[in-house]
């Protein structure tokens, strides 16, 4: 298949998560929903179920408003909205890590609003570097496992987890390589890039790795397209077709990202030496450079200008998910760090309920004038 055919396949999957879920259910597989961020999907996979990411959807919120005040991010409100509206029916459970205040509230609301889907919280230690953090993380993985055993009516087997860890590490590696290759090929559009990341949430990792590997080869076989303006994107979620259309029509080429739904999720592999569950704990301990994870030295702040430079980006675009505390706290410091590094940056605010993107377009067009 050509690169474009493979991209089209990713787009198809990215746009139809419910069809994917129905396909897996029809195959007799069980589906476990995984909310942001860093849900232990390896555990789900090792227990024979398919983990599927839930990040809400681009839509108007109605029923979730009975549960949330207006000033909570549209991602978590969307998850509850879709749950109430039976979009997730058939899922065996939802795992929700609670790495921000909105997710904490959302978990409690989901429990009340969608009683038909078992709610499994995953409590991560933010103070995760020392042994006490590792111990607590492991204890909570064990709780998740025992809840999954009930929800899936199956037993956990640590030996199988070792296999799943390899599958996920392999997928991480493929995703990282895809991002690198896309950086060398300006013809890869923002939309195509987004589809590759988004489709990963709705497929088994083994299936997705196979597609991404083919895609990498197909892109490499192409002559790199005409140069566009290289930019670095930071944020939580950038999958909106309207937003990507603006990036593409403005001639922007995303050379690397620091987006939670994209590269942030694939930066860290689990080690493979040692007991598999401990390896998974280590993976979480080693994960960082993210606004939702305790960051005493604020390495996330320096990562953005460093990577932007490393990948030759001319500018940094912050795509802020409205009402996101963690990102809103990091932004002023990252902006300052970009200024100090002489990298122009701009912020655009998005929301999954947004229908008009004119403001984002105007801001980006003005930014491009600065870059060129």
């Amino acid at each position: 298949m050509t690169a474009n055919e493979l991209f089209a396949k990713c787009a198809e999957i990215a746009q139809n998560p419910r069809a994917q879920m129905d396909k897996y259910l029809a195959q007799g597989k069980k589906v476990v929903l995984t909310a942001p961020y860093y849900a232990p999907e390896e555990i789900v996979d090792s227990m024979g179920a398919v983990p599927m990411g839930v990040w809400g959807a681009d839509m108007e919120l109605n029923d979730s408003k009975k549960f949330f005040p207006t000033f909570i991010c549209s991602i978590v409100q969307g998850i509850v909205e879709l749950g109430i509206n039976h979009v997730y029916d058939g899922a065996s459970a939802i795992i929700m890590p609670m790495l921000c205040d909105s997710l904490k509230g959302a978990g409690q609301n989901f429990k009340a609003a969608v009683p038909s889907i078992p709610f499994i919280p995953m409590t991560y230690p933010q103070n995760r570097f020392a042994d006490f953090g590792a111990k607590y993380c492991k204890a909570n993985y064990l709780t998740v496992i025992s809840e999954l055993e009930k929800a899936l009516a199956t037993e956990f087997d640590e030996a199988k987890l070792a296999g799943s860890i390899k599958v996920f590490n392999d997928h991480n590696q493929a995703m990282r390589e895809f991002a690198e290759v896309a950086a060398m090929h300006p013809e890869v559009t923002a939309q195509q890039r987004s589809d590759v990341f988004k489709s990963a949430m709705f497929m088994t990792k083994a299936e997705h790795t196979a597609i991404v590997r083919q895609l990498i080869d197909a892109i490499k076989a192409q002559e790199p397209g005409k140069g566009r303006i290289p930019v670095y994107v930071s944020g939580i979620l950038t999958d909106s077709p309207e937003l990507n259309a603006i990036f593409d029509s403005c001639g922007l080429h995303i050379v690397m990202d620091d987006v939670a739904a994209q590269s942030r999720a694939y930066r860290t592999d689990a080690p493979v030496e040692g007991a598999p569950l401990d390896c998974l704990v280590k993976k979480f301990q080693n994960t960082g450079n993210d606004s939702v994870l305790y960051d005493p030295l604020k390495k996330h702040v320096d990562l953005v200008p460093d990577q932007a430079k490393q990948y030759g980006a001319k500018g940094v675009i912050f795509v802020l998910t409205k009402f996101c505390d963690p990102e809103e706290f990091d932004y002023p410091l990252i902006k300052k760090a970009c200024d100090a590094a002489g990298i122009p940056s701009v912020q655009i605010e998005i929301d999954r309920q947004m229908v008009r993107y004119e403001q984002a377009r105007t801001i980006l067009e003005a930014f491009i004038d600065v870059l060129s």
Partner: protein
């Protein structure tokens, strides 16, 4: 001149709870300022961080949340917020954080001065936003940060694993602070501090429970003021003494049929959320004008740090209002409503606090049903005056009063 102006006011009786509590709150800033002047290291501390640590180590700390509330109550909330916003902080962020980050930048506030910190002590049993705010302080001021991570208990009670995790962090912070400041941990002093905290807590719990009397011997807005001492100074011997005085005064009120609530107490409500500090007077008189007394808030329960062992103390820190799940949060409030004969619930949908407001609509619905009381919410903010509308507040409170009135007629 200043002396003369002061003398015109009726002097506050130095033996009164008001005087004692006010002095403790003011002394906290003065002591930290003096310590700083002596060349000692001082800290900024999150409100629900275990006070036992700095108190036992003899470290002076200030509480940015308390400072921000003071600045907002004295009218400078918006100015400070705007300074932070000019640096790129979104106006959707917690206004306490914005006020404090602005203070960290300009380093002055005539409304509430505070010495600059040499370290920060952070705990997220109030919200995760704390971590982000204190991370930024640590980076901008180039000082160390110490954290105690207390996650939301998703079970009804905190698990043993959580208590173990938090205990380990407690000692980790103690050792880190010993190393940084050269102060030494003393088990005897720790025992004393724990006793002080328990004594103050017992008196606080007893005093707040007196609202079960009809009429209540106090105006619930008193709780919002006095709670500052419970949050920040309960490890000090004076706090217990002052709280006991408060308790005695309110018991005296019951005997005499008096109250700090002026006027006839027609309706009794529970108030949910942090005070709207920039509009304290407006929110208070909106109730008083309709004969409504706020007899209780979750604060009445929240600072009952009466424990008998180290593990019990840790458990209480794991059970502060924003660290517990919906069911536990709801049941605590239902108990307060029932014990204090509450007839209505007024919810402050606090724009600053995503943690407090995140599941509030569902929880207040469940409380309303369980207690068979009306629930009314209004929009506001703990420190940013731009997020409050007096007209909306008046309409909502009037609506609540009318339902409570109608309920009385039916009953």
């Amino acid at each position: 001149m200043a002396e003369e102006v002061k003398k015109q006011r009726p002097p506050v009786d130095p033996n009164s709870a008001k005087y004692k509590l006010g002095k403790i709150a003011a002394d906290a800033y003065a002591l930290a300022t003096e310590a700083k002047a002596r060349g000692e290291m001082v800290g900024w501390c999150a409100s629900n961080f275990p006070v036992e640590i700095p108190e036992t180590l003899g470290l002076s700390v200030c509480y940015p949340e308390n400072q921000a509330a003071g600045i907002a109550a004295r009218g400078a909330g918006q100015t400070m917020c705007e300074i932070a916003e000019a640096d790129g902080y979104s106006n959707d962020l917690c206004a306490y954080a914005r006020v404090n980050l602005a203070f960290a930048k300009i380093r002055e506030s005539k409304e509430q001065p505070m010495p600059m910190p040499d370290f920060v002590l952070c705990c997220n049993n109030i919200c995760d936003c704390m971590f982000k705010w204190y991370e930024n302080l640590a980076r901008e001021l180039n000082i160390p940060i110490f954290i105690i991570d207390i996650p939301l208990s998703t079970t009804y009670e905190p698990t043993n694993e959580e208590i173990e995790y938090v205990s380990a962090q407690f000692w980790d912070v103690v050792h880190g602070l010993e190393k940084l400041t050269g102060k030494k941990w003393d088990d005897e002093k720790f025992k004393q501090v724990m006793e002080n905290s328990c004594r103050a807590s017992r008196a606080w719990l007893k005093a707040t429970s007196l609202a079960c009397h009809k009429p209540s011997p106090f105006n619930g807005f008193d709780l919002l003021n006095h709670m500052a001492v419970m949050v920040t100074a309960r490890g000090k011997a004076e706090a217990g003494e002052a709280m006991e005085t408060l308790c005695r005064e309110w018991e005296e009120n019951i005997k005499n049929g008096t109250s700090t609530y002026r006027g006839e107490e027609k309706h009794r409500i529970m108030f949910e959320g942090i005070a709207c500090w920039p509009y304290l007077r407006v929110t208070s008189s909106g109730l008083k004008n309709r004969g409504i007394n706020m007899v209780t808030t979750i604060y009445a329960d929240a600072f009952g740090f009466d424990y008998h062992s180290f593990d019990e103390m840790i458990k209480l820190y794991c059970m502060t209002p924003n660290a517990i799940n919906l069911e536990q949060s709801r049941d605590k409030r239902i108990r307060l409503c029932k014990d204090n004969h509450v007839e209505g619930l007024l919810v402050h949908t606090n724009r600053s606090c995503k943690m407090w407001s995140g599941f509030m609509p569902e929880m207040s619905r469940q409380i309303g049903e369980a207690c068979n009381i009306p629930v009314v919410a209004f929009d506001g903010d703990q420190a940013d005056p731009r997020n409050f509308s007096e007209a909306q507040y008046e309409t909502r409170v009037q609506g609540l009063a009318e339902i409570m009135e109608a309920n009385k007629e039916v009953r």
